[in-house]
Symmetry: C2
Subunit: 320 residues, 2 copies
Amino acid sequence: MNTDTQTLVPTLQTIREARERIGPFIHRTPVLTSSSLDALAGARVFFKCENFQKIGAFKIRGGMNAVLSLPVEGLRNGVATHSSGNHAQAIAYAAREVGTKAYIVMPRTAPEIKKKAVAGYGAEIILCEPTLQAREDTLREVVARTGAAFVHPFDDYRVIAGQATCAAELLEDVPGLEVVMAPVGGGGLLGGTALAVHYLSPGTRVIAGEPAGADDAYRSLKAGAIQANATTQTIADGLLTSLGDKTFPLIQQYVEDIITVTDEEIVAAMRLIWERMKIIIEPSCAVPFAALLKEKERFAGKKVGIILTGGNVDLGKLPF
Amino acid sequence: MNTDTQTLVPTLQTIREARERIGPFIHRTPVLTSSSLDALAGARVFFKCENFQKIGAFKIRGGMNAVLSLPVEGLRNGVATHSSGNHAQAIAYAAREVGTKAYIVMPRTAPEIKKKAVAGYGAEIILCEPTLQAREDTLREVVARTGAAFVHPFDDYRVIAGQATCAAELLEDVPGLEVVMAPVGGGGLLGGTALAVHYLSPGTRVIAGEPAGADDAYRSLKAGAIQANATTQTIADGLLTSLGDKTFPLIQQYVEDIITVTDEEIVAAMRLIWERMKIIIEPSCAVPFAALLKEKERFAGKKVGIILTGGNVDLGKLPF
């Protein structure tokens, strides 16, 4: 698997190839606007709706691109990952589409609804204790036993190139964006977004939103070196991971700023989008819009694209 | 106001004129599909998303058409109605758009969120006791005092022609529908839908869904005469009214059947649409899809259009 796409920063050509590769397997998601949210924000906001994407989140882009990029012999023994979130579903879905097996290591405490979704795509779930150590150990065992190819959730250039296709579509659909915003967890989406904007619309600024309760990327950018999360106390459960060796340099180079927001601000932004746009987004997904509302003056009158990352939320446990 | 459009059943030409008249003021709403809901339903379902419409519901179509159809002298003194729901917002919004005053009679027990929405469009709210008698008495007083033109929520051909524009768009966007489904309350939407289908796609069948807890339309169709609601015990709070003199004959003539569903079936269908499609719909809006799921065998393999009527739901009081 030691191919160029795995060891080199994605080029514009790599991102274009990723788009062609994953195109038949994903949705071209719509870009929605809301006059009442524009009035509230004091800006013109274009929401790229990845909550309507296959598996309900943008993660299928990176997962699908990584799996489709594997050489035939790499695919033979299946693919594996550890995740309790949208990446698990992405790999399970991608494996099914290409006709190979998926092994998903999940913490035994993961919600039943997430286990069911992964199992629904035909993946084999291997439960482990709910610690990062246990997840990594279990994954290593699974890979050793099965020979499956590991697909990292974000620190992988094939995954980053896949995530970059989302901003590429947005820039195509809405010319002249002055700012593009995305949330940051491990940085796969943000790194890919920043790369796509750099290649396709270099005058556009990229600004991220991050939960204050897991603000490693904000601190990493300020410190000039990867910082670990001091806490992971936030409702934005898709953004708990720290940056990786591949994602951090992209963010350092191409992202202008990261704005942190409290859980109260995240929930308020999420509720606004639910009420005014009538669409379902998960808490992590509301982070960039919360960041825009928090620093409205920076975005006043501007044309802003926001990537709405996903809509997988437990309706039985809503924060309002 | 004694014009042809008010006293005669809308013709195809009347519906076409309504489309042109209201076009600049409303959204052309999208038609969405879901492969997982198709698999569950055993049919190909095309959802016409009026939850994304202005004011969050299809009601703006009829309200806007009625207000725009008023002669200049009829508009001078404003418009009035009684409603605690989406029709109130429709008339308030329409009045603001044409630059006249709206008087909305609402029960004093109506949720604050609905009063705020109506007031937000600049309408004057007149509170009354929460009985139909008090609403009608108060409306009469308001009309006598102000000279405002009354716009009935459904039993008005201008309103029915406005609601018909929704199915007209759906039939244009999705050729070859075998069935079109809508919910039924007072019958304005169902009557308009049935008319549009009759004119534009006569081979297509029209089937309605109705809450079992307010099944007047079902019983009226069986009895061949308008029946009152015996109860209004249902979560589908947009479908509590009985049919009118203008809507019933349209339904009798052009609607093939009405399927009744329990509140449990409504909530289950609503939740499925929220979870699988990531869009917010109100309970009344889930009724036709609940009806389809209840009698799946009737729709097996068919191409079915469903009008999703609205998305105005109190997020603090969800049924799951």
